[in-house]
Symmetry: C2
Subunit: 243 residues, 2 copies
DNA sequence: GCCGATTTGTCCGTATGTATC
DNA sequence: CGATACATACGGACAAATCGG
């Protein structure tokens, strides 16, 4: 897939920053310089830079330049912060992972599910419970609700590997965005069982509920991810007021 | 302060969406239409729209239009997700709040603090412990470390009101971005004391550590916010691959 | 303090590509 | 096929902030 020019520049700069080509607090080359090095317009450079700002890699300063504020973050085993699937995160971190499907059923949304998920009452759904293991340790218990009409032919075998791969490669669906809410909840017996936890140790876990949309504007997935608290970390960069 | 044109359009569209002027899944006026209504160029409209995409308010679809995917989120008492201060969040939600300073000292960063905060060892700092109350309930215990040279003249009185107001209005500092990491940690005796918790109930809490930068590129604040789990909620919108 | 050079911020107009209908 | 809509990219103009002389 041919990447756009601005994306190429963005990735190139990001890689250089991560590699340490610019010291912390050092200025990057000016926009005009980059225009020459990349052979593109200033708008295109600025688009790449603004993505780096959003990611918290650099700060732009009017009249001065673009300053590197990247510092490698102390790595936790598993970090969120992006829309990556569990499998993608594991691959990126070069860790062994596996998934066990502990429940695979079909159901229609009742009032309770409808309220939480946003799917209308009566909608046919797949309901899955899956446990994700990293390096042999159970880290996440997922409750997935998929819109049945959007995920035809889903099987436990697919669910054991990569649902997103199936959606994107086989069904040619494009995942666009995911609205997430993070909370802390009391542990349940199901959590204790599958995450091999003991509530005398931790009696809470980190819960991420997400509503995910595809490129047709359809919310096709509602998921509640219940994370072992000692392996959970979520990263974020917040930018003040300006867009 | 005169807002930029694109920001005006962004806020206007956002307000219309929140007010329900467009139904869920309905398309907004086309970019060309907006060019006319706002009397600006297409670039300016697109800039505003792309901010709405980032916020999870709309989805753009090539060849089709801009679709409203906003749904009012079930409100928790206190929600994060932006770089707002506690005080700003409370005001926005029209809730009564107060802050109690339980510790106000000066210190220099030792190795332990340096490692966690990123301030070099030996840096002179203010160290504060503050409890934030909403509607009379203790919700957050903050451990703030401020770079002393960036916050001259800080007093417990200021800390009891609004430090950010002091920074921005009196010291004319501009806060730019904040890198945050969210985790779940075991409760401590200090937490129990100030947040009026009992570890037989919840024995964990939500912890947000943040490194905050000003417009001079200086990381002037390191804060660990420890939140009551039952009142903690963090919202986010993740956008897949494209910028 | 002023001036000019540099750098980022905002905005505009235009052209072309691609997807949808 | 043509019309419409968003996506990418270019080039130019001016404003605003910074810095050095």
């Amino acid at each position: 897939m041919p990447r756009a020019k601005y994306d190429h520049i963005y990735l190139d700069l990001k890689e250089k920053i991560e590699r340490g080509e610019y010291a912390y607090q050092e200025f990057l080359p000016s926009e005009n310089t980059m225009v020459c090095t990349y052979g593109c317009s200033r708008n295109t450079v600025r688009r790449a830079v603004s993505s780096l700002v959003r990611d918290g890699y650099v700060q732009t300063m009017q009249g001065k330049g673009v300053r590197n504020i990247f510092r490698p973050v102390e790595q936790t085993l598993f970090t969120l912060g992006t829309i990556e699937s569990f499998r993608e995160s594991a691959l990126r971190n070069q860790l062994s992972y596996s998934t066990k499907v502990v429940l695979f059923t079909e159901l229609t949304a009742d009032d309770k599910i409808a309220l939480r998920s946003g799917f209308p009452r009566g909608t046919p759904l797949y309901y899955l419970q899956r446990v994700h293991y990293l390096e042999g340790k159970a880290l996440i218990l997922n409750h997935n609700y998929f819109l049945k009409e959007c995920v035809p032919g889903l099987t436990p075998e697919i669910a054991e590997n990569t649902i997103y791969g199936y959606l994107e490669n086989t069904l040619h669906m494009t995942i666009v965005n995911s609205k997430r809410v993070m909370t802390v909840e009391k542990i349940t017996e199901i959590d204790e069982k599958y995450l091999e936890l003991n509530r005398n140790d931790y009696n809470c876990l980190a819960v991420v509920t997400s509503h995910t949309y595809n490129s047709d504007g359809v919310m096709f997935e509602y998921t509640q991810s219940r994370h072992r608290p000692d392996y959970f970390s979520f990263q974020d960069n917040a930018v003040r007021h300006p867009v």
